[in-house]
Symmetry: none
Subunit: 415 residues, 2 copies
């Protein structure tokens, strides 16, 4: 089966100036991947005729499918339509169906159709119109032998709907596409290089129609196993079998599969076991609680937190002993031990968590340099503590600590 | 003065598969724009040698400055380094300084240096090393006559720090760049289109060497005034004068200038006035506290928070009356009024803040649909409350509410 290659082309000065973040190309990449089209390149150019024409012709040399977004607005800096007309050597003319659609669009909103809006229905005569059901700029589909160009507005929700409802069915009709299956294995608490070393043999033994990618993020590494073949059921079976093979080597680091972040996995664990959680945060300043509460329904298992930033609050509100703070300091095993147990008791939860550290960039001492952080976990049977030695970057330290805390909950939660 | 043109090249299969959103290219675009370098194209290719080599040579034909991110990890799918060595026709060899740095990096973390990690210090011999102060993969700088290639890790915080501290100074040394001055006016509490309407006349009267950009983000709009000329001092003077002209029209929405986010502006206000803050968070789940504590030194004015997620905690730990919760519900003016005053009292702070709402996506009622949120501000003289009617998107609601709360503090803080 011939591989179908795609290039995604985003058009707009605002993208090159760093004004607007292009999320369209990213989203289209994912959709193409799902239907077995290989995106081999993404390109962004400004609203400049020569740049656009060059980009069209380069893309045509490389790819079968060229997906263009942006530059279809009604203002003078929107040049995609005239450039496409030039590239396909045809004129622009009012498309009667498109005119009816844009007229209807304005009518529904009780607005008059201006000449500028009317021009949105002018399309290169070589194209097939792609209807825009929720906006005024229609899309365009140009067949060119085995290849195809299409152009969509840059407004994300308009573009997405057009891709899903019209572009993908057309692509699946035009091309014979392979079946692709991705399996994501989510790990935490092991660095990318250690992970890679641990599973080298397995990686090298993967069948040729499967490949592996490492996707690291703060404190985590996702393994993505991608298979290509003819049958989705077969690929899923194979991916599951390959996962079973690698599991014994990294089992303790795997916290889940697919799209679920660790805060959701922990939420599910807590809900299933009917356990509740509360948190005493010092250096993380509320960030762990924020992560926990990004999950809808977290009120089922999350009772609340105390962000005990000052020592005074640690003593008066949380009940940490003044003596402990004085003797060992706020950033100490003894303090987080007390904090975790205190918040558990005060909030009446099954599990209590605590963080205390020097997030930085200042405030370190020779004994406790910036990035020294203690975390603790307490339930009815045990209290666990752990020291982290992190960076001098405040935000990074907050995020790493949160990942470490969430991993600690995952590992320690009673059965 | 010759315009210096740049191309940004992002490398990684995970970008083309739609797995990872490339925010690096966007951020770099903005940084280049600030120093007067014109980004003319952005390109993304996969971890494929031939694709990378083609992209290098195409970029070299178009641009003076080629900025590459990604593909520098320690695993076998990371090919940027060998490709650059091939492109620059040189070998890879251990760079002793880089080796010392990566060794130190692991030592600080109490970890052993594996052979794989050691290989991170192997660099193309044609390059100048760019130190990575917070990671293991060094960057590279290749002079090629008037042109320059540089390669940085794809990890955003590592890349950013390297660009700001090392790449930009080097670029400014290598090229004569136009003098550019950006002045950022930060507004909150006014939408983009209302803001644009309010200042239309001023915008139209701007001198031709100044341009204006609207940069909207959650709850905020930043106005960026960009002047290009020969003298920084002149541009600064002009930008200040232009700001003084527009100020009277939007004064109450302006919270600051430059890079300071509102949480820093508020921190400064509190410190200057020697006031302290505490927060009772329900629907925001710790996010407001997180924002406040991202600012170094926030312990000077931030006492702490209570994330009172369950009603039980609102009553027992915070001291909200059970009767209030029963009669008016947790999401009500009466409840946030009590929460703000309770947290202020319990934490002994000058100002108390509260949030309570239905963040969604579920949990709404006909009376209180999803997105109904109450916020409150209390100090020794007054208690203020405000109702927000937001979206059905949980994370968006949390962030908008935090912006609204921070703006409420800014507007209400006693003199």
């Amino acid at each position: 089966m011939k591989k179908i290659l795609a290039e995604i082309l985003a058009i707009g000065d605002e993208l090159l100036y760093g004004q607007t973040l292009d999320t369209n190309s990213h989203w289209i990449s994912g959709e193409m991947d799902k239907i077995g089209i290989n995106v081999i390149r993404r390109t962004t150019v400004g609203d400049v005729e020569s740049e656009m024409l060059t980009a069209f012709s380069e893309a045509e040399q490389r790819a079968d499918v060229i997906l263009i977004t942006g530059g279809l607005g009604p203002t003078s800096d929107d040049l995609t339509k005239p450039c496409l007309a030039k590239y396909f050597n045809c004129g622009l003319a009012i498309n009667e169906e498109a005119l009816a659609e844009v007229t209807e669009f304005f009518k529904r909103r009780g607005r008059e159709l201006t000449e500028r809006n009317r021009q949105q229905a002018a399309l290169p005569t070589a194209c097939i119109k792609i209807t825009n059901p929720i906006g005024t700029a229609p899309g365009m589909w140009f067949d060119k032998g085995d290849k195809v160009f299409m152009s969509m507005p840059g407004v994300p929700h308009e573009m997405k709907r057009m891709i899903i409802e019209q572009v993908i069915p057309r692509l699946q009709k035009k091309y014979t596409l392979p079946v692709i299956h991705h399996k994501i294995i989510r790990t935490i608490g092991i660095g990318e290089s250690f992970l890679a070393e641990t599973i080298t043999e397995w990686e090298q033994s993967l069948p040729p129609h499967f490949k592996l990618a490492y996707l690291p993020s703060l404190g985590e590494v996702k393994l993505r196993l991608t298979g290509m073949g003819d049958s989705l059921a077969d690929l899923q079976r194979e991916a599951d079998a390959l996962t079973d093979q690698v599991k014994p080597f990294i089992e303790s680091f795997i916290y889940g599969y697919g799209d679920d972040p660790i805060e959701r996995v922990i939420g599910r664990l807590l809900r299933d076991k009917k356990l509740t959680l509360s948190i005493a945060e010092s250096c993380t300043g509320g960030y762990v609680s924020h992560l926990i509460t990004t999950i809808p329904g977290s009120s089922d298992y999350f009772k609340g937190s105390m962000v005990a930033y000052s020592n005074e609050v640690k003593i008066s509100r949380l009940g940490v002993k003044a003596e402990t703070l004085e003797r060992f300091g706020a950033v100490s095993e003894e303090t987080v031990f007390e904090m975790a147990n205190a918040v558990k008791l005060k909030f009446g939860s099954d599990i209590g968590i605590a963080t205390s550290g020097i997030a930085g960039p200042d405030g370190g001492t020779p004994d406790k340099p910036v990035g020294t952080i203690w975390i603790a976990y307490a339930d009815n049977d045990q209290t666990l503590t752990k020291k982290l030695q992190l960076t001098s970057d405040r935000l990074l330290n907050i995020r790493y600590t949160a990942a470490a805390v969430l991993n600690m909950i995952r590992q320690s939660i009673p059965n």
